[in-house]
């Protein structure tokens, strides 16, 4: 309780409240830009945290993250162009609502739904985070290795239809993580004799390269096709009937999104899609979905914000990011000297509880920003992408420079930017690459520590119920696409038989 109150007091400090508002606003702006989502927002805005107190920095990062989640749905509603995957569902009914002249109502309901979903998830976080951190204390190197394996396999298996590419991206990320001095033995690996590589490839450069430069270069593909649509926003509030239709979908989708967010690999995109289809199935008027049904917008908005809070649980309690954005967050936290994991709750409870409390404040600030400042936000959306993209490229360069104060890293940034572009063009999932690069070094060290502690035997990986459960879940997650395919085929066969 003391820790909680201390965290509350820290998050209520005027400067921290200011950072929540600044982060939320900046995140909303970057998240609003078509094609740029929360991962890019956090990656591009990392340099802002330099020179800040770690607690303020983590509060700012989280605010940028949620701000970008809010922002993503603004462009979904107004331009039919989602900021990122988790905002796609907002285009289904949000854009038709805007076309019907209900853009203001759509934005208000999405902000309120995001707010309620976010708050419900933060409450879940308060109750679940500490028990989970205590449970994680039972993990040894073998269990940690298997948990990381499960996270990676889960994130790959979710890229259904492109699993080989997912595994390729993952292998490449893991291989890149082996570059540099081996911390256990001091052996130099793949440094090519370049001193700059002795500490390995800085994953933040890869993240900024792939997510910021790569995304901007990728957006050059359609830069001349972006239509300038001037939307009349109208009144920013919803009527009684709209609220009546939305309240239960919002309340149902919050917990659903939160649970999906906690699961490794599954993120906001899956949460919003599942909540959308659940609401459509439960609705008395499913035919209205896709044509501007307000509940079709409210449910996914509540779910994806709740999922983003849920995704912070494995990140903070175990140091395991479950998605591309939380992987970027992990990179930023490590850079700030904060090592997420079960011990964080014991060693640095103020940071954790300040962050949790700042999520409450952040959600309140964001709903206000998104409703009161909607005019300003829409104006920003009117700013041509052709002006904003060069600015993002510049921010990526500044961010890279501030990592090690060396312009040599600019070359690495460009290489990974081009590589990110190719991955996007060839339809590779990027999250497995980034995630593998970040957890790779820890994964290897835990693997070797586990094998060393059992005198070279791999029996250690089957020695505890936790390990066996993790292995089972890993096998299940890898076979998941095949299972889905099997059931789909069976269903199709059944349908054909019925029709015959």
């Amino acid at each position: 309780m003391n820790n909680y109150l201390e965290g509350l007091m820290t998050s209520l400090e005027p400067m921290n409240i200011l950072w929540v508002i600044v982060g939320g606003f900046l995140g909303t702006i970057v998240g609003m830009l078509p094609g740029l989502g929360p991962a890019t927002a956090v990656a591009v805005l990392i340099p802002i945290t330099f020179g800040m107190e770690p607690i303020s920095a983590i509060i700012l990062m989280a605010a940028i993250y949620y701000g970008a989640m809010y922002g993503g749905s603004r462009s979904s509603i107004l331009l039919n162009t989602p900021g990122d995957g988790s905002a796609i569902a907002a285009t289904f009914d949000g854009y038709p609502m805007a076309q019907k002249g209900q853009a203001g109502e759509a934005m208000a309901i999405s902000a309120v739904a995001s707010f309620i979903g976010g708050i419900m998830a933060v409450i879940g976080f308060v109750f679940l985070a500490e028990p989970l951190a205590n449970f994680a204390l039972k993990f040894g190197p073998a269990e940690y290795f298997l948990l990381m394996l499960l996270t990676l396999s889960a994130i790959v298996s979710l890229s259904i239809g492109k699993m080989i590419k997912g595994f390729l991206a993952m292998s490449l990320g893991l291989l890149l993580s082996t570059v540099g001095i081996d911390t256990q033995t001091g052996v130099y690996r793949f440094t090519l004799g370049i001193p700059h590589f002795s500490e390995g490839i800085d994953f933040l450069i890869v993240i900024i390269g792939v997510y910021a430069i790569g995304e901007v270069l990728y957006n050059f593909l359609t830069i001349d096709q972006l239509k300038k649509e001037k939307k009349k926003v109208g009144k920013i509030w919803f009527n009684k009937e709209q609220w009546k239709r939305s309240k239960w979908p919002i309340l149902r989708s919050g917990p659903l999104g939160f649970i999906i967010g906690v699961l490794p690999g599954a993120g906001g995109s899956i949460a919003s899609m599942i909540s959308y289809s659940t609401e459509k199935q439960m609705s008395k008027k499913p035919e209205e979905f896709g044509k501007g049904a307000v509940e079709g917008l409210a449910a996914p908005e509540s779910a994806n914000n709740a999922a983003s809070v849920g995704a912070m649980i494995p990140l903070l309690t175990m140091g395991i990011p479950g998605s591309g954005t939380t992987a970027v967050m992990l990179g930023a936290l490590i850079m700030l000297g904060i090592k997420p994991g079960p011990l964080l709750f014991e060693n640095d409870p103020t940071t954790v509880w300040s962050l949790i409390n700042s999520m409450f404040i952040g959600n309140i600030a964001l709903v206000i920003i998104n409703i009161l400042l909607v005019g300003v936000l829409v104006k920003i959306l009117d700013t041509p992408a052709k002006v904003l993209y060069p600015i993002i490229v510049l921010l990526a360069f500044i961010g890279t420079y501030t990592l090690s104060y060396s312009a040599i890293d600019f070359f690495l940034l460009l290489v990974f930017g081009l590589f990110g572009l190719m991955l996007k063009v060839l339809d590779f999932p990027i999250a497995p690459l980034v995630l593998a690069l970040i957890v790779g070094a820890d994964m290897e060290q835990n693997f070797r520590k586990a094998v060393l502690s059992s005198n070279g035997s791999i029996d250690i990986f089957f020695a505890s119920p936790i390990s066996i459960t993790l292995i089972f879940l890993t096998i299940l997650s890898i076979s998941y696409p095949a299972i889905i395919k099997f059931f789909q085929k069976r269903k199709e066969r059944k349908n054909i038989n019925i029709n015959m």
């Binding site: 020179g51 595994f167 593909l221 070797r448």
Partner: protein, 149 residues
């Protein structure tokens, strides 16, 4: 288009072979298990090779299928935009520490805006370049205390 489609798997196969050779030639450790630092890279290099070969076969099967994104990347002014952005980035890397943050940023951002946003909008480009370069210098150098050249 076929070159790009086939280029990636071939690049990845070559990369995995380079890593396999490099992994076997890694120095042995003086502490603990001498082969300790080798196992992970060797295993991963082979994993990369296996998936790269599978990817190659996958691409061969769909070689004639059109990839809209590749077509877009090669058409219009997109290749020019990508190429010039990268070249300007390389130039920025060279001049950044020599002429300092403010001047190099004005040159880099200005040139990038003229290329991406067009010469016709020169007024906007100039205003954004000057204002944003100065603002970013002020924010990072003065407000955040980041040491910039």
């Amino acid at each position: 288009m076929k070159i790009i489609k086939m280029g990636m798997p071939i690049f990845l196969i070559l990369l995995s072979i380079v890593f396999i050779i490099g992994s076997f030639n890694l120095p042995k450790a003086n502490l603990g298990n001498p082969n300790g630092p080798l196992y992970f890279p060797i295993g991963l290099s082979f994993l990369l090779l296996i998936f790269s070969v599978l990817y190659l076969f996958q691409e061969l099967k769909t070689l004639n299928k059109e990839n809209k994104k590749i077509t877009q990347m090669l058409s219009g002014r997109t290749p020019k935009l990508i190429g010039i952005t990268v070249l300007l980035g390389v130039g920025y890397a060279f001049i950044f520490e020599i002429i300092g943050f403010l001047f190099s940023t004005v040159l880099f951002l200005g040139a990038l805006l003229f290329v991406v946003n067009g010469k016709q909008k020169w007024k906007v480009n100039l205003i954004v370049t000057v204002c944003f370069s100065f603002l970013s210098w002020y924010a990072f150098s003065v407000l955040l205390g980041v040491s910039l050249p």
